[in-house]
């Protein structure tokens, strides 16, 4: 974010702090904003990612703001058709925040700059929290119950996500009410938070590799009494889950060599079937 832009935001902020804002939108409308934030991926394409859905979700609100200002509506729509990608569950906050700014007719470039500065980091943070932490934990617990045929498993999983769906409503209110003050929070902390979210995410991925990737050899070396089972008496003694760890890093290395992920899946199947045919796994 350039210095100039920040100083503009500062102006806005000081404007804002002065008095209670006379809000254009009802509580119910802000709640609807939270729910409409689910539309961002509607017309997903690699070219613009969330842009059309993002615009669609907010369109009714802009129509209200720019009721008598056709050019304003054109501008805001055009501006928001730029490439956007971030973590869907965090959009309600962002939408709420940007809505106050639109409502206050903050300078267009300021809004744009802000959007570009915030969305990238928030994608990383959101993914670490939602995809790589909440989902495997909820999924893992639910799956461990479901595996025994108990329907509480899927119900529990569903409950978690109904809660997350619902949480979009208060988050939208939060973004809208904090307004530009939310920027302070996000701005000051986004570097730190994405650092911290990476720590959390990678710790969890480390745990997931150990828990979810299942590889175990059935080969014996030697015969008779002194025979040892390669898995139990050698590999497991070196370190349990050493094969899954090694295999993940093999795949990682292939990915960094620009191998297409689909080949990794093929490799996995070929390996599994060959090992099965040889009786090694």
């Amino acid at each position: 974010m350039t210095w100039k832009m920040v100083s503009k935001v500062e102006d806005v902020k000081s404007d804002k702090k002065d008095g209670k804002k006379k809000s254009l939108f009802t509580n119910h409308e802000i709640s609807m904003l939270g729910i409409r934030s689910n539309l961002v991926q509607a017309s997903f394409s690699y070219e613009r990612m969330h842009a059309p859905g993002w615009t669609w979700a907010q369109l009714p609100f802009w129509e209200k703001i720019y009721k008598d200002d056709k050019q304003g509506l054109k501008d805001v729509m055009t501006d928001n058709m730029e490439f956007i990608n971030s973590s869907p569950p965090l959009y309600p906050i962002l939408m709420g925040l940007l809505l106050t700014m639109e409502e206050d007719h903050v300078d267009r470039t300021t809004i744009k700059g802000l959007k570009n500065a915030l969305f990238g980091p928030m994608a990383g943070i959101g993914d670490a929290i939602f995809w790589f932490t909440i989902m495997p934990i909820a999924g893992g617990i639910a799956a461990s119950i479901a595996k025994n045929g108990n329907v509480l498993g899927p119900l529990l999983f569903f409950a978690v996500y109904v809660f997350l769906f619902w949480s979009r409503i208060p988050l939208a209110h939060l973004g809208y009410n904090l307004g530009t003050r939310a920027i302070d929070v996000i701005e000051d902390n986004s570097k730190i938070i994405s650092h911290v979210a990476s720590i959390l995410g990678l710790t969890v991925i480390g745990g997931l590799i150990a828990s979810y990737v299942k590889m175990s050899l059935t080969i014996n070396i030697g015969a008779g009494n002194g025979a040892i089972n390669l898995q139990k008496q050698l590999l497991d003694k070196i370190f349990p889950n050493i094969l899954p760890f090694a295999f993940v890093f093999l795949l990682y290395w292939l990915l960094r060599k620009k191998v297409n992920p689909i080949w990794l899946i093929v490799l996995t199947f070929v390996l599994a079937i060959v090992m099965s045919a040889l009786g090694w796994m």
Binding site: G124, W131, T133, I145, H195, T203, G206, M281
Partner: protein, 266 residues
């Protein structure tokens, strides 16, 4: 058992609902644990659906669409795992492997949409420039409808129309192949994790990956929550430390600028 036409249609409807959710990522009913359960319900064997759901959910752990990627599709995989298991009396673990081709078919269709939906962008741009809100909104329905219909059609064809050859394939499969598919299901999450690592792993985060791995290996627990909590511990400690470091750095920078100003001044 064979899938009846009614069941086939119900499955198609369910695929459309779950597929829409998969596209929008709203309720997460596109995850295998839900998809399998409902499919089981449709096929009249809830128990099987729930069990297959648990197993498939684990196999698909880490295979996320984060960053706009597309993993093998969970909706198709979930449906077909239950369908194959139910109609051929296969163990769900093996059925997971057999359902993967269908999941990958859907994955490729979605990837095709991810690329080709760019075609709509010029239209969107035009409506935006004109401030034509109504047309803009309407246009958004088209990709949605395309996606939803695709899910329905692919699911119907896979589950209902292809069941005869599928049955033949499955019943004629030798034991080593069946077992191979089972193994593949257990190894599959590795692909997802490798993809995550490609995005997230910088050298300074390696110790955290390691501690997560070591703790989970040494203290086997039914889910990764303990590991996640340890991640939270490290993350929070680092958070407070980073904040104080940031303050120190800010002060340093201030002093530097001050120093420079003074030099300039002199």
């Amino acid at each position: 058992m064979t899938i009846t036409l009614t069941q086939g249609i119900l499955i198609a409807v369910w695929a459309m609902i779950a597929g829409l959710d998969c596209w929008l990522q709203a309720f997460y009913i596109f995850r295998p644990i839900i998809v399998c359960t409902i499919t089981g319900l449709i096929l009249g064997d809830l128990q099987l659906g729930v069990i297959a759901g648990g197993l498939t959910e684990l196999a698909f752990a880490g295979l996320t669409p984060a960053g706009g990627t597309q993993p093998p599709n969970t909706v198709l995989c979930g449906i077909m795992t239950v369908v194959i298991a139910a109609s051929n009396n296969t163990a769900p673990t093996t059925a997971i492997g057999l359902s993967l081709p269908f999941a990958m078919l859907m994955q490729y269709i979605l990837l095709f949409y991810y690329s080709s939906f760019s075609l709509f962008m010029s239209k969107f741009d035009k409506y935006a420039e004109e401030g034509d809100a109504k047309s803009f909104k309407r246009l958004n329905y088209i990709p949605l409808i395309i996606v939803v219909l695709s899910f329905g059609i692919v699911a119907f064809l896979s589950a209902y129309a292809a069941q005869a050859p599928m049955h033949q394939l499955v019943t004629s499969m030798p034991q080593w192949l069946t077992h191979g598919f089972e193994l593949a299901g257990g190894i599959l999450p590795a692909v997802g994790f490798a993809m995550l690592l490609k995005v997230m792993l910088k050298p300074q985060y390696f110790p955290y990956l390691l501690i997560g791995f070591v703790v989970a290996s040494m203290i086997p627990f039914s889910n990764v929550l303990p590991v996640a909590l340890i991640g939270v511990v490290f993350a929070m400690i680092e958070y407070y430390r980073s904040r104080s470091d940031a303050k120190t750095e800010a002060k340093l920078k201030e002093l530097e600028t001050k120093g420079d100003d003074m030099e300039d001044g002199i």
